[in-house]
């Protein structure tokens, strides 16, 4: 499909990568130093910076189609396959991810145009530093450098989560997030040290080269498990996921857009990148596939169940994100280019839809001062337009064609089935339908007063009282907010209908899994290898059918949720049987930081056992 000319690196393209990291930092510095500037200036500056970064990323993406872009910082080019410097590497997949990051940031800043007065220009400065962290993490080709940018993303994210200091839950969610993420990061760093002791390397390519064909002993397995731990915490994979619901439920809506849309997915990206490049030559693929398909499956099922039980709309969306991460992980864990392509496209489509949903929840919060599905019952009746958008986004989340979620899901389903998991498509359909159904149920209740008025029976659930994102109630939706929402949904739609765009994911995934090409090109500037067989990313009959089935099932689940009390006797009995296990599951999500820390260790031990024991 692509004729690859053997050229040496375009130095200009290489400069794009550090510039993409530096621009938001410089603008953030300007915003901090010039705090006295009028609000609209800082807003405009911040949006312009995000758009500028998006432009740079777009240019980087364009130059990756033929070849990876490799930038050695400080000019420390490798000699004889070794460099003391740090490398930034862009291939279509991470350049696309960086572009997605910048685009979502622009939408989030547009949405929050003129809000958060009390935090002043500090808010935009933090958002831009967050963007810089995500750019750096996406482009970095060095394990320790990834840790640094991981911590940058983290530190800024904790502050952004706790931004609404008047809110009781907000500050608590921020602390849970901060402690668990930092713990994960320190475990990762311990893993880096362990690997360094064996290889004396930090670059991904150098590490991969050094570990090639080594017998996977305890050090390699342990190093892998420790390093992955941090990324999996960020990706909110069960049982490292507890922080996510707490943080997403309470962070300002515009911040949630980035958390759910890209930050969590970046964790997954980091995990996949490190596995492929560093460990792809030593840890056997079958072993990894088995372990992480199981973990992804558990993640998807647990989170989908939790999602359907929520009445706090943002918490519901947060669990839906975890469920989708489970699906992405299953697709990535097939360790095929097809699975990776499907996951990447699914991530991109999901980002637009989920971001739009968080902003819609933000609109409700600003208008009614609550995001509680039960309290808001029928409150949005006069705002049908928003309601229709909400339902549409719910259907798109479930995988309604032609949204990009549907084609991504379709490609992933086929890849999972082909990899020897015939139950894969059923899992994808049910999980996406349950989460989409939960969203549709909430939308129907809030905007259309559908079903009987819900009443509590002493449920200990987190309620949806929350401090508004803005200081006063907004009677009408400002055009900037609506523009951001419609733009995000449209983005997901367009990605699903422009063949040139979605089919590009095949090439991106092929490059991503081309381990030898990555190492050779990074260390010796070897030209990218010509690939003859690219995974086919296009609409197939099965993806259209399964997507439609998911959307229909979502509607069925939504109505089941609305009218479950009127269910006939036998169905109600079955439903009641689910009660006790559900209570246990909800009890586990205790909001208690000590429990979460213990679960991190359990998860670490579990992954160690899943990966390590079969190798004995």
């Amino acid at each position: 499909m692509l004729a690859v000319a053997p050229v040496r690196f375009d130095a200009t393209a290489a400069h794009l990568l550090p510039i993409a990291i530096t621009v938001p930092i410089v603008i953030a510095c300007v915003l901090i130093a010039g705090r006295a500037m009028p609000r609209w200036t800082s807003d405009a500056l911040a949006v312009a910076a995000a758009l500028g970064v998006a432009g740079i990323d777009g240019a980087a993406l364009a130059s990756t189609t033929a070849n990876r872009v490799v930038a050695w910082a400080g000019g420390w080019q490798p000699r004889h396959g070794f460099s003391v410097g740090v490398v930034l590497v862009a291939d279509p997949l991470n350049a696309g991810l960086a572009l997605l990051t910048a685009a979502l940031m622009a939408a989030a800043l547009l949405y929050s145009w003129r809000y958060f007065e009390s935090a002043g220009a500090h808010y935009q400065a933090l958002m831009l530093l967050f963007l810089a962290g995500m750019q750096g993490f996406a482009f970095s080709g060095d394990l320790f450098d990834m840790f640094v940018f991981f911590e940058l993303m983290g530190a800024v994210a904790y502050a952004l989560t706790g931004l609404k200091i008047e809110d009781r839950t907000s500050v608590q969610g921020a602390l849970n997030f901060g402690i668990i993420n930092s713990l994960g990061a320190y475990l990762s760093l311990a893993g880096v040290a362990v690997l360094y002791s064996r290889t004396g390397q930090l670059g991904l390519a150098q590490l991969g080269h050094a570990l090639d064909h080594q017998q996977p002993d305890a050090l390699i397995v342990g190093g892998f498990v420790l390093v992955s731990c941090g990324f999996l915490v960020k990706a909110a994979v069960v049982p490292f996921h507890f922080w996510l619901a707490d943080a997403h439920a309470v962070a300002p809506s515009s911040v949630c857009v980035l958390f759910s849309g890209v930050m969590v997915e970046l964790g997954l990206y980091g995990f996949a990148r490190v596995y492929w490049i560093v460990f792809g030559g030593t840890l056997p693929g079958d072993d990894i596939r088995r372990a992480f398909v199981v973990i992804g499956l558990v993640t998807a099922v647990v989170a989908a169940t939790m999602c359907f039980c929520q009445r706090h709309v943002k918490r519901l969306l947060a669990y839906s994100t975890i469920a989708h991460v489970g699906l992405f992980l299953v697709a990535v864990a097939t360790l095929t280019a097809e699975g990776t392509a499907g996951a990447a496209l699914y991530v991109a489509g999901h980002a637009g839809v989920k971001a739009a949903l968080f902003l819609l929840a933000g609109l409700a919060l600003n208008r009614y001062g609550s995001v509680d599905e039960w309290e808001l019952y029928g409150r949005g009746k006069d705002d049908r337009l928003t309601g229709v958008l909400f339902l549409l986004a719910g259907l798109a989340l479930a995988g309604l064609p032609p949204f990009a979620t549907a084609i991504g899901k379709g490609v992933a389903e086929e890849a999972v089935a082909k990899a020897g998991y015939p139950w894969g498509p059923a899992l994808f359909v049910i999980v996406s339908a349950v989460t989409g159904g939960a969203v549709i149920r909430a939308g129907l209740r809030i905007y259309f007063a559908a079903g009987p008025r819900p009443h509590g029976q002493g449920q200990p659930a987190t309620r949806g009282d929350e401090e508004r994102d803005v200081s006063t109630t907004i009677p009408r939706h400002p055009p900037t907010m609506m523009l951001a929402i419609v733009g995000l949904l449209a983005g997901s739609f367009v990605l699903g209908v422009v063949p040139r765009w979605y089919s590009a994911f095949g090439n991106a995934a092929q490059r991503f899994v081309d381990r030898n090409g990555y190492i050779a090109q990074t260390l010796t500037a070897a030209p990218a290898t010509v690939v003859h067989h690219l995974p086919d990313v296009s609409w197939t009959a099965s993806s259209v059918v399964l997507g439609t089935v998911s959307a229909l099932l979502a509607v069925v689940f939504a109505f089941a949720g609305l009218y479950h009390e009127r269910a006939p006797q036998p169905v109600a009995l079955v439903g009641r049987a689910f009660g006790p296990p559900l209570r246990v599951l909800r009890g586990v999500h205790s909001g208690h930081i000590g429990d979460y820390a213990a679960w991190v260790l359990v998860g670490l031990a579990g992954i160690g056992a899943l990966v390590g024991l079969p190798l004995r």
Binding site: A155, I179, Y196
Partner: protein, 115 residues
């Protein structure tokens, strides 16, 4: 002695997590987290240590052929220390806000996020 340094590092990591698990006070949890982190300092520096080698600072007198300990792990540890301190500051600030909103910093009494 061969592995003692590594075990000390591992011990600090785990004992820090133990501190978070048993914590009855969020400030205590944050401080325990920094104990966890000091485990990573010890691990990194022990990995880079070489018996009989000197610090990797040559000055104008020390010949550059003298064996020195690994400077790379030291640079990493420096970064790690800064990161740890600033993250601790952030978490402490959050803990102060929690105390203001909830009137308590005991995780057992904070029950606004459940299920």
């Amino acid at each position: 002695m061969t592995y003692y340094a590594y075990f000390v590092a591992g011990w600090l990591l785990l004992v820090g997590v133990y501190g978070i698990v048993r914590s009855r006070d969020l400030v205590h949890a944050v401080v325990s987290l920094s104990v966890c982190q000091s485990g990573t300092y010890v691990l990194l520096l022990s990995v880079g240590y070489q018996k009989g080698a000197v610090a990797p600072v040559f000055g104008s007198t020390l010949p550059t052929s003298t064996p020195v300990v690994d400077p790379v792990v030291q640079a990493m540890t420096l970064t790690d220390i800064v990161v740890g301190a600033t993250v601790t500051a952030l978490l402490l600030a959050i803990a102060v806000q929690i105390a203001k909103r909830h009137g308590t910093v005991d995780p057992d009494e904070l029950v606004s996020l459940e299920g």
